[in-house]
């Protein structure tokens, strides 16, 4: 799943997949603006067949946050 998230982030945010790690966040990534954040959230929802609440959308602001939230969602 982690690889899949990285690939997806690479596509949406237009960054190199291998540059994504635990330190990648909205604050440290120039192309991760509020518009691409929505696109990213939507793409994750489509790819993993999940649906996020607004509170989740607002909190998934880094690669680690995304993976953590997704793991929780997919377990339930």
């Amino acid at each position: 799943m982690e690889e899949q998230v990285k690939q997806l982030m690479a596509d949406i945010l237009n960054v190199d997949q291998h540059s994504i790690d635990g330190s990648t966040s909205k604050d440290t990534t120039a192309s991760w603006d509020s518009l691409s954040h929505i696109n990213l959230m939507v793409a994750i929802e489509q790819e993993f067949q999940v649906s996020f609440d607004v509170s989740e959308i607002e909190s998934m602001l880094s690669y680690s946050d995304i993976v953590e939230t997704l793991e929780r969602k997919l377990q339930v």
Binding site: I38, N39, V42
Partner: protein
């Protein structure tokens, strides 16, 4: 990773490399494959980004500048609109101002909208943003009446359209309004004419009514689109309230596909001919094995699904789409079926061309294209067999290929969903196209029995009518500029709005040409547009439908222009030939009528002139010529 995603990632990289290699058709096919498989945000972003990187100028795409004006955040449509436009060979350039800026953009003559000089402007406004009285304040207004709210809206809308038109010649495409998802009066709503749903319905009717008096204004049936998919699936309330993005991400491709229908129609890319397979396409089973009585076609499933499909195809025929057959079968079996199966809705006479043989289907398609004088890029091929589809796609990549799904109940949606045949006009010529092609066949037969060419012309008993462009002939004239590829000296495409604009300028001479012959009325088949510039009459557009090429109508058109030029004391008639792949029949037009070549550019464009009145093109003796004034006088 699943097998499927492995396949997709291979297609992804092939797509990217075909784009970079400049292989337009392959890239379009692979892009379609990707999006058919997964039209999600990730792939849309990927495709749109590849397009940005690609050498688009080398791909031979048709450029189109589109402005998206909206009351909500329509930014999110960008990638899917670019991707789906590309599948139609369109290089989309987008202008998207900040949301809720649509009024300012239209009303300010110096706005970014007008600087962008768009070809198409899409106005996507949700009803609740423009008419809060009906959507939010319904119960308050119920006692006060809605008339003033509706009148205010229509006034505002009309003035907006007028302001737009004064500043811009682009096509204006306006979404109509979706009824509220939940009516405030519940089941009572539909019991009254002032129910919410009825009010919105009336509003949409008024919008459609405005099109009549505003050339170049078209309505996108957004309400119909949302209805097809269901409002509860269409809207994402969460994203609407959080990011002013009301349309669910899964639905954005469908909105893009709807707009792409308009883009294709405006660019003259509407398909003209549908070529069908027979076995397991028009009926269930294999005729050669199951026999006339064994095939599935009738009131019981799956026969009724095939009947429904035939009925949809019959509708296309009535709209003027030419039908063809490319089937691997014994010709005798097929003849017997068309003669003897009482459930067939499609008859032999509905098909303009029928190729039944054991050869490759790509060959059959090429023969049909030649016979009907239609470009392969205007043809759609439909087959249930993936191998046949692949063969045609590979050998004729410009043909649009639809591989039918296994379930026949899905055929109708599959063929209709992208509106491949949709146009923005429905002329009497369209309605009668099948008949017109039969007339042409008869005329061809006459040509082969007539001795000399003059004799053939005499026998045709042609009557040519020249008439100034009118509001009534405007749609057909615009359609001709968009669709005519062969006998067309400059191949300039015009929208109705652009032609309407020219009609207001007295220095433009805009002439529609109708031809009547012994086989019937061909309707408007030619158009010339020329402009008086000091003592010269300059031809901008000169075109003839392929139905009447080779009958000397072009000579009559030039003779008419000469006469008009003389009447307004012009000393020269000038025209250009802009060579394209298709317009070979028009290239020697000026040369063979005695024009002198003035200049030639590197691109091959030539400029020609005829000195007046010293040299005039003579009106051909074999046709009766009428001007519109005479026609009116006779009535």
């Amino acid at each position: 990773m699943t097998n499927n995603s492995n396949d997709l990632s291979a297609v992804r990289s092939n797509f990217a490399s075909s784009l970079l290699a400049g292989d337009k058709f392959l890239a379009m096919q692979l892009g379609k494959k990707l999006l058919d498989e997964d039209p999600g945000m990730r792939l849309l972003t990927f495709i749109s980004r590849q397009l940005e990187k690609a050498p688009r100028a080398e791909l031979g795409l048709k450029p189109l500048k589109v402005a998206l004006l909206s009351s909500f955040s329509i930014e999110f449509l960008r990638d899917s609109l670019a991707a789906y436009s590309f599948l139609s060979g369109i290089d989309l350039q987008l202008y998207v101002p900040g949301f809720a800026q649509f009024q300012q953009e239209i009303r300010n003559p110096a706005s970014g909208l007008y600087t962008f000089s768009p070809d198409v402007v899409i106005l996507a406004v949700e009803g609740s943003d423009w008419l809060p009285e009906i959507y939010q304040g319904f119960l308050e207004e119920l006692t006060g009446g809605f008339d003033s709210a509706l009148a205010r809206f229509l006034d505002e809308f009309q003035s907006l359209v007028q302001t737009f038109r004064a500043n811009c010649k682009a096509t204006l495409l306006v979404n109509n309004f979706v009824p509220p998802v939940w009516n405030k009066l519940g089941i009572l709503d539909c019991q009254s004419k002032t129910g919410q749903a009825q009010l919105v319905h009336g509003l949409n009717e008024s919008l459609t009514g405005l099109c009549e008096n505003n050339p170049g204004l078209f309505i996108a049936d957004y309400a119909g689109l949302v209805n097809r998919h269901g409002a509860l699936r269409w809207y994402d309330d969460r994203m609407n309230l959080y990011a002013r993005a009301p349309i669910a991400a899964d639905m954005l491709p469908w909105l893009s596909r709807e707009y792409a229908k308009f883009f294709r129609a405006l660019l003259g890319q509407a398909k003209k001919c549908l070529v069908l397979d027979l076995d397991n396409t028009l009926w269930g089973g294999v005729l050669g094995e199951d026999g006339l009585t064994g095939i599935q076609l009738g009131p019981v499933y799956p026969g009724n699904a095939y009947l429904a499909f035939q009925n949809a195809i019959l509708d296309l025929h009535k709209r003027g789409i030419l039908l063809g057959v490319a089937s691997k079968n014994n010709p005798a079996d097929v003849d017997e079926l068309f003669a003897g199966h009482d459930k067939m809705l499609l008859k032999r006479k509905h098909f303009a061309s029928m190729k039944v043989s054991w050869g490759p289907k790509s060959e059959s398609l090429m023969q049909i294209a030649k016979e009907l004088n239609i470009g392969l890029e205007h043809m759609v091929f439909v087959d249930d067999n993936p191998a046949e589809c692949a063969e045609v796609s590979r050998r004729l990549p410009m043909v649009t290929v639809i591989a039918l799904p296994r379930q026949p109940e899905k055929f109708v949606s599959e063929v209709l969903q992208d509106g491949l045949f949709d146009g923005l006009t429905y002329s009497s010529e369209d309605r009668r196209r099948g008949e017109l092609y039969r007339q042409r066949d008869e005329a061809e037969a006459l040509r082969s029995t007539s001795g000399s060419l003059e004799e053939f012309y005499e026998n045709l008993k042609m009557e040519v009518t020249f008439a100034p462009l009118t509001k009534a002939s405007l749609p057909r004239s615009a359609q001709l500029t968009q669709k005519t590829n062969q006998f067309n000296v400059t191949t300039l495409r015009y929208s109705e709005a652009e032609l309407a604009d020219r009609m207001r300028h007295p220095d433009w001479l805009l002439t529609s040409v109708s031809v009547l012959d012994r086989f019937g009325d061909n309707g408007i088949v030619g158009l010339s547009m020329a402009r008086f510039q000091s003592d010269t009459l300059e031809i901008d557009t000169f075109l003839l439908s392929c139905r009447v090429i080779g009958r000397g109508v072009e000579s009559a058109m030039l003779a008419y222009l000469c006469n008009q030029a003389i009447q307004r004391r012009a000393r020269s008639l000038q025209g250009r030939i802009v060579p394209t792949q298709k317009n070979v029949p028009a290239r020697d037009l000026f040369e063979r009528h005695g024009f002198a070549k003035i200049s030639e550019t590197d691109g091959g464009t030539t400029l020609w002139a005829l000195d007046l009145p010293a040299k005039m093109v003579a009106m051909p003796q074999w046709m009766k010529v009428r001007t519109d004034a005479e026609v009116v006088a006779e009535r």
